[in-house]
């Protein structure tokens, strides 16, 4: 499960910073814009954007831009959605590739049989 390993690494990296942990705590109470967060943590907008972007990449925060304001939300739900999405896709692709597997097996036998009948 390389994917989950990478996701965990990203999560731990995101949580290793005190400001980012503070941001998560803040967002646990209520959604906030990047400007709000920058003011609250006495940082530049650019600095806060970087922190939020790291949290976003780890799936811990989601952001949505409405007009000129980017609002940040705690992203736990998104992780659950992603797991559900992966599961649905796994079902589709398993079914599809199981069918391909059977077809490929059939073609392989056919090729073998054809080669044997030619030899005779």
């Amino acid at each position: 499960m390389v994917h989950y390993q990478a996701r965990l690494d990203a999560t731990f990296a995101a949580l290793s910073d005190v400001t980012r942990r503070g941001v998560l705590e803040q967002l646990g109470d209520s959604d906030a814009s990047i400007t709000d967060l920058a003011q609250r943590f006495r940082m530049t907008l650019t600095g806060m954007k970087k922190h939020v972007s790291i949290l976003e990449q780890a799936g811990l925060v989601t952001t949505e831009k409405v007009g000129r304001v980017r609002t940040c939300t705690l992203g736990r739900r998104r992780l659950e959605e992603e797991a559900a999405w992966i599961e649905r896709h796994r079902e589709l692709w398993s079914a599809r590739f199981d069918a391909l597997d059977k077809l490929v097996d059939h073609l392989k036998r056919k090729e073998k049989a054809d080669a044997q009948s030619k030899r005779r």
Partner: protein, 166 residues
């Protein structure tokens, strides 16, 4: 793990689906056959339509045109009782390297993915890697939201059909 019996590889060869990054979806699977056979099943429209379409979900393939060569076009039209009208998927093959690689565009939407499938043969088996790269995270999310709804858990009809043929 118990040793796989011949013909039961579907039970042991696992399909792995991963979201590699915010923009990419990757599906991998081993097939117990040389690459030229898997490539044939993927590039011959008559064979392709036997396994690609989720028939048990009530979808059917109205038409399947595939000109599988670099620069060639494809167009797949699906119908479903829930659709007002048939749904078309189309695009161009950017690269076709026989038995190794097929890459195509998905032009039915402005933010369509670029899809690549590779076939890597090793000791008579083939690893298939299906890779979709979306231009934006939003485009992937959108594709994800709609694409997998109501898809079948298994291709019962296809299984029957293949059982008849073999």
């Amino acid at each position: 793990m118990p040793k796989a019996k011949e013909g039961s590889s579907a039970a042991t060869n696992r399909t792995v689906v991963e979201r590699k990054s915010d923009h990419e979806l990757v599906v991998t699977r081993m097939f117990d056959a040389p690459a030229h056979i898997v490539f044939e099943a993927w590039s011959n429209p008559e064979l392709f339509k036997l396994w690609w379409v989720p028939k048990s979900a009530g979808m059917s393939l109205v038409s399947c045109d595939m000109d599988v060569r670099t620069g060639g076009a494809y167009r797949l039209v699906f119908s479903h009782p829930a659709f007002d009208q048939p749904m078309a998927f189309f695009g161009t093959y950017r690269e076709v390297t026989p038995n190794k690689r097929i890459a195509w565009t998905n032009e039915e939407s402005d933010e369509g993915a670029v899809t690549t499938v590779t076939f890597e043969e090793d000791a008579g088996k083939t690893r298939v890697t299906f890779h979709e790269r979306y231009p934006t995270e939003a485009a992937l999310d959108e594709a994800l939201a709609g694409s997998a709804e109501g898809l079948p858990e298994q291709f019962a009809q296809l299984d029957e059909l293949l059982a008849d043929r073999s």
